[in-house]
Amino acid sequence: MSLIEVADIYFAYENNPVLAGISFNVEPGNILGIIGPNGSGKSTLLRILAGLLKTREGQVKINQRPISSCSPRELARMIAVVPEETLVTFPFTVEQLVMMGRAPHRSFMSSLTLADREAVDLAMVETGVKGLKDHFINELSSGERQRVFIAQALAQQPRIMLLDEPTAHLDINYQTEIFDLLLHQQAKNGLTIIVVSHDLNLASLYCEKLLLLRAGRIFAHGAPAEVITPKILQDVYRNRVQVSVNQATNKPQISLIPKGAV
């Protein structure tokens, strides 16, 4: 049984169609990468899956239930969302921020339960921010900040985690650190992960399946080896690329070929 079923969704901002005819399923415990050129509708698709945007046609079901019928609170218990960057206006501490992840499980004006504290503690340990718990978020590096927001998402104890370009502003050591952490959660808790990325090599290395969008439609969907091919990438990105295989992981990796090269 698929955990997430996306059936023929259509979405437009005003009269600009952004997505059309999008259908796919995600199995529990899978990692799906959504890739595609700028403006292909990746982030819009993710926001629809998060329940932040309503589709004009088609629907998204989670566990057989249409997300349009779920309250924000019900959704937040199933799905955690990590945006590219979370702006923090006021200097909260790391622990206070991770604690906010418990909000969907707590009742109105209740005090923290043991389960809340344990979930927060575990989330901080697993993301390696426990030692920073009393630090102010504005004192941290961008890599540390992103781990704090992943910890906040883990504290929600979701079945699904949606991430939008989680490593866009990070150095390569932080990039692999974040993805390794996600992979660990998948293996340990069966977390289902959908990640939008413009980094084809990272997506290919870490995702079991890739969904390639072009101009709001699915251009290719399958294992990295099926999607990351010179033919497909040339069609979508209009760029000449060379695809080789990463010796350590057996996953396809691309290198660009400049116009002048023979």
Binding site: R47, A50, G51, L52, S71, P72, R73, L75, A76, R77, I79, A80, V81, P83, T86, L87, V88, T89, F90, P91, F92, T93, Q96, L97, M100, G101, A103, P104, R106, F108, M109, I137, N138, Q152, Q156
Partner: protein
């Protein structure tokens, strides 16, 4: 709430009581509240000073809590009901009620003030939105412009109706001169209830400061929360402005002071801001009553004279600690 935070709150509450008690003494004539005194002294104590002190406490509390709520919902450390034109909306409503002759009815003045406050709040909010976002500059600009426009309108209305200039000063600069104890207690009761209602949203306010989309994905019903809080804050502002006119800077600087002291968690921040606000208005009113005696300086002038430089000082000295960005 942690024990340390509780102790701090108790201490500041004691400080507030001490200052309130001292304020009974403090005036053009110093009166010892326990000495008994003559008829005149008792009259000054119970008919003039006590109502005023109570009113100062309610005003300080209500304005500060409103400021805290605005700054969180709008994710803007420079937001407050005065700067964003909510207070001038309420003042316009109040002035209109008086001019239309509705002032005689106990509730119609605050009711019209409430409607106008909410309208101006919604107007500023709509004007400040650009492509679904609300940049800091646009919000402040929209607020300042609406505020200036409405203040001008109040002055015009009052002048055209051959009212005295002091009435303009009342609306624009504020006054704690109301001595009707029934009205003050009514104001106090509604303000206290409304502040408690805002306090119940502490968790939601914490989360909303991370952005509306983030808050929704953390399970907060953002639209509902925002609407309820806008209505509650409009009630507080409408009532306080109806009774005391517009008093600026309290809702702006007190939340910052409180944040410096106890951090941004609204569970602790809100009560701290409430108590600090009460203390601030009490002290400002003490000065307003005595500094130029027998003349009384409008309370809004004192809060601005102290508030503005203090705010600039905070902004320069502690920028990184109050806010992470503007």
């Amino acid at each position: 709430m942690r024990t340390k935070a509780k102790i701090n709150l108790m201490l500041s509450l004691l400080l507030l009581l001490a200052i309130a008690y001292l304020s009974l003494y403090w005036g053009v004539i110093w009166i010892n509240p326990f000495s008994g005194g003559d008829e005149t002294s008792r009259l000054i104590l119970y008919k003039i000073r006590l109502p005023r002190i109570l009113l100062a406490i309610f005003v300080g509390t209500g304005l500060s809590v409103s400021g805290v709520a605005f700054q969180a919902i709008l994710r803007n450390p420079l937001a407050d009901p005065y700067i964003l034109g909510t207070s001038s909306g309420a003042a316009l409503g109040g002035a209109l009620a008086l001019i239309l002759g509705l002032g005689g009815f106990f509730y119609s003045l605050p009711a019209l003030a409430f409607v106008c406050a909410l309208l101006s709040l919604v107007l500023v909010y709509q004007m400040a939105q650009l492509d679904g976002k609300m940049p800091v500059q646009t919000l402040l600009l929209a607020g300042v412009i609406v505020n200036t426009f409405l203040s001008g309108l109040i002055t015009l209305l009052v002048t055209l109706n051959h009212k005295e200039l002091y009435e303009v000063i009342f609306w624009i600069m504020g006054s704690l001169g109301q001595t009707d104890m029934k009205l003050i207690l009514f104001t106090g009761a509604i303000t206290t209830l409304s502040c408690l209602a805002v306090y119940f949203f502490s968790d939601q306010l914490n989360i909303i400061t991370l952005g509306e989309e983030k808050a929704q994905t953390l399970g907060v019903n953002v639209e509902l929360t925002k609407r309820l809080l806008f209505i509650i804050v409009s009630v507080i502002i409408a009532l306080l402005v109806s009774v005391c006119g517009m008093i600026g800077f309290v809702g702006l600087i007190i939340p910052h002071m409180a944040r410096l002291l106890v951090g941004p968690d609204h569970k602790v921040l809100m009560p701290t801001a409430a108590i600090l606000g009460a203390i601030f208005v009490l002290l400002c009113d003490g000065l307003a009553r005595t500094a130029a005696a027998p003349l009384e300086i409008p309370i809004g002038v004192v809060t601005a004279l102290f508030g503005a430089p203090f705010f600039l000082y905070l902004l320069r000295r502690k920028k990184s600690q109050i806010i992470t960005e503007v």
